[in-house]
């Protein structure tokens, strides 16, 4: 399945909003088998920070592991956030 992050907003900066996005998306994710590929699409996201991403992408990766793929990650703050999380 494809997760279009811009459906959660285009300025994704705070932990509470990242956590809320994760919780709100649970009913959808619960229908997806853990073996299925999850494509996270950053198209349209203008601002992303590690705080938001840590509440959404980190648990997503914990659940679906290597089946999580990222696309359209060229936005500067998206790239910087992913680089920061990769060092964790």
């Amino acid at each position: 399945m494809i997760v279009q992050l811009n459906k959660f907003g285009t300025t994704l900066v705070s932990r509470p909003s990242g956590k809320e996005a994760w919780l709100a998306f649970q009913p959808t994710l619960n229908e997806v088998p853990e073996s299925e590929e999850i494509i996270v699409d950053f198209e349209g996201v203008i601002v992303l920070t590690p705080s938001w991403a840590d509440e959404f992408l980190s648990p997503l990766r914990s659940k679906f592991k290597d089946n999580v793929k990222l696309q359209n990650t060229d936005n500067p703050s998206v790239a910087a956030t992913l680089a920061t999380l990769a060092k964790q």
């Binding site: 900066v13 909003s17 601002v47 590690p50 705080s51 999380l85 060092k87 964790q88």
Partner: protein, 258 residues
């Protein structure tokens, strides 16, 4: 003849060149026209009435002086011993207000700057502002929330909080920390969160990574510790200042747009 010129008939040429409209002044400062009218009435920022209808105009020098003062206003706010709420336009009592104003800032910045600058400067401001809420929620010593303001003209964003400060926050998880200088250095160099056992502590490392790779500047004070960062800075050199502040005081500069 331009409307502005008509209104200014009667003023000498040198005076006309120094006047700007209330709309332009509101745009430069980043507040509404109604706010400027209120500030005029209370004397916070006085206008000059000119023309037959007595429209409000502003002296360019007054606006420039006021814009310089955003930083001074924030500094005064965190240095006063008895906390008072900042002006409404600069005060984000809750995270929701900060989010709305941050998006407004992002929108205004996008009119003068390319996406790269907009994305990175907003991310830095967003991370620092939200850090204040993350670490002080339920524990604000006096005034809850943050001071958040900016000057598009001066290419500056100012954030401040009267929170616990980095030393108090990090001391919970690293008791051997004894001064703000060491705490500030740890915050910018190590992944250590004051909200253990949650996996956190990336925020200021992220900020650092952006500042040192781009034509931005960062001035960060907490307690009596001060850090200045700019492009290509490899080391974190924290200085001890004579004056100590409560919480954190941050100035982000983006004079050179990417």
């Amino acid at each position: 003849m331009h409307r502005f010129d008509k209104i200014c008939i009667g003023l000498d040429q040198s005076m006309q060149n120094k006047l700007i409209s209330i709309g332009k002044a509101a745009q430069l400062i980043g507040v509404s026209i109604d706010t400027l009218r209120r500030w005029d009435a209370t004397g916070r920022l006085k206008s000059t009435r000119s023309g037959i209808k007595g429209h409000r105009y502003y002296l360019k020098d007054d606006i420039e002086a006021f814009l310089q003062d955003v930083t001074a206003l924030a500094r005064n706010w965190i240095q006063t011993s008895h906390g008072i709420e900042p002006e409404a336009e600069m005060y984000c009592r809750t995270r929701d207000i900060f989010q709305a104003r941050l998006e407004n800032f992002e929108s205004k910045l996008s009119r003068i700057a390319p996406l790269t600058t907009v994305s990175l400067v907003t991310a830095v401001a967003g991370e620092i502002g939200n850090n204040s809420f993350d670490h002080n929620l339920g524990n604000w010593p006096d005034i809850p929330g943050i001071f958040f303001s900016y000057s598009m003209r001066n290419r500056t964003v100012v954030l401040a909080d009267r929170g616990l400060g980095i030393l108090t926050t990090l001391k919970r998880v690293r008791p051997q920390l004894t001064n703000s200088e060491d705490a500030l250095k740890v915050a910018f160099t190590e992944t250590l969160s004051g909200r253990f056992p949650e996996v956190r502590g990336n925020g200021l490392k992220f900020v650092r990574s952006i500042i040192i790779k781009n034509p931005f500047t960062l001035d960060f004070q907490t307690g009596d510790a001060y850090l200045s960062l700019k492009k290509n800075d490899e080391d974190i050199i924290v200085q001890k200042l004579n004056t100590s502040i409560r919480g954190c005081f941050v100035i982000i500069g983006f004079e050179s747009l990417i």
